[in-house]
């Protein structure tokens, strides 16, 4: 079997992107990697917070608190923190840290800025997309507007927010 031109994922510099993608619906890889970064960031911050609480308790009371990941209170605390992390980020700027890194953002399905209410609904609906082996994410792959189940419920979409053509020009200017 021979590889055909255009089949392989590009491994070159930013020159691979020849048009400005700004405003186009973001694809699966960008969204998934952004989400993975967000999970890492939110978990990292949460663990730091737990460590800080443990340290403060040790200093103030002399008691050593240990946390177990199966502890219901730890799970609830993380769920609350994750809700705040995603809902606030989407309401405030339309993007989380991971989304900012990968140049994507949340907008309403007609392209206007997402309101706080939509951000909250989107955050609450996000777990639904994971049900049935992540069936809710299939819409990103097959849908005309690349929307997951939680996007449809919240009336939102995810678009590229970075100017790929400017990146290409930056690459050319270095050459």
């Amino acid at each position: 079997m021979t590889a055909r031109a255009g089949d392989a994922p590009p491994s070159g510099p930013p020159a691979v992107v020849r048009e400005s993608l700004q405003g186009k619906y973001a694809g699966f890889a960008s969204r998934f990697t952004a989400f993975a970064v967000d999970v890492g960031v939110s978990l990292g911050v949460f663990m730091l917070a737990l460590a800080a609480v443990s340290f403060a308790a040790l200093v103030l009371t002399g008691k050593d608190i240990t946390w177990h990941k199966g502890d219901i209170w730890v799970i609830i605390a993380y769920a609350v923190w994750a809700f705040i992390y995603f809902a606030y980020s989407w309401a405030a700027s339309g993007r989380t840290a991971g989304m900012a890194l990968f140049g994507v953002r949340v907008v309403t399905d007609d392209g206007t800025d997402a309101s706080a209410r939509r951000a909250v609904v989107r955050t609450l609906a996000l777990p639904l997309s994971f049900l049935f082996l992540g069936l809710g994410f299939v819409g990103i792959l097959l849908g005309d507007r690349r929307r997951a189940l939680h996007d449809v419920i919240a009336g939102t979409a995810v678009i590229y927010s970075w100017d790929a053509r400017a990146a290409r020009l930056r690459f050319l200017s270095r050459g």
């Binding site: 255009g6 089949d7 392989a8 994922p9 590009p10 491994s11 510099p13 930013p14 691979v16 992107v17 048009e19 400005s20 993608l21 700004q22 405003g23 186009k24 619906y25 973001a26 694809g27 699966f28 890889a29 960008s30 990697t33 339309g94 890194l101 990968f102 140049g103 953002r105 907008v107 309403t108 399905d109 007609d110 392209g111 206007t112 800025d113 792959l141 097959l142 005309d144 507007r145 690349r146 979409a157 678009i159 590229y160 927010s161 970075w162 100017d163 790929a164 053509r165 400017a166 990146a167 020009l169 930056r170 690459f171 050319l172 200017s173 270095r174």
Partner: protein, 119 residues
Amino acid sequence: MVSALDVNALLDQVDLNAVLDQVDINQLLDRIDLDRLLERIDLNDVVKHIDVSALVEQTDLGAVIAASSSGVAGDVLDVVRSQTVGLDEFIARWIGRLRRRPYTGPPGPPDRLRPGAGS
């Protein structure tokens, strides 16, 4: 008396080149209040008619702007984003093949997206 004059016939007899030869352009320009003239021009309307994208693409202007705002972190970010977009396109092309629908590029933008929104 004016109505009796044939203005067209009169103008036909005027040698405009000779008249213009006698006009001191510098003196004329000195009498023009450019500030007042510019105040009457809607520059925003003029700029709307300029294809900035084509201008940036066809000249070194884009490279100059880009070079001035580029840093190491920005370069890394560009590469990471470009690679991920490449992967997006790779996946979308294969999905298009499986569905026997030719892939013509990422869909969008949404109808009411403001130009430059999201940047």
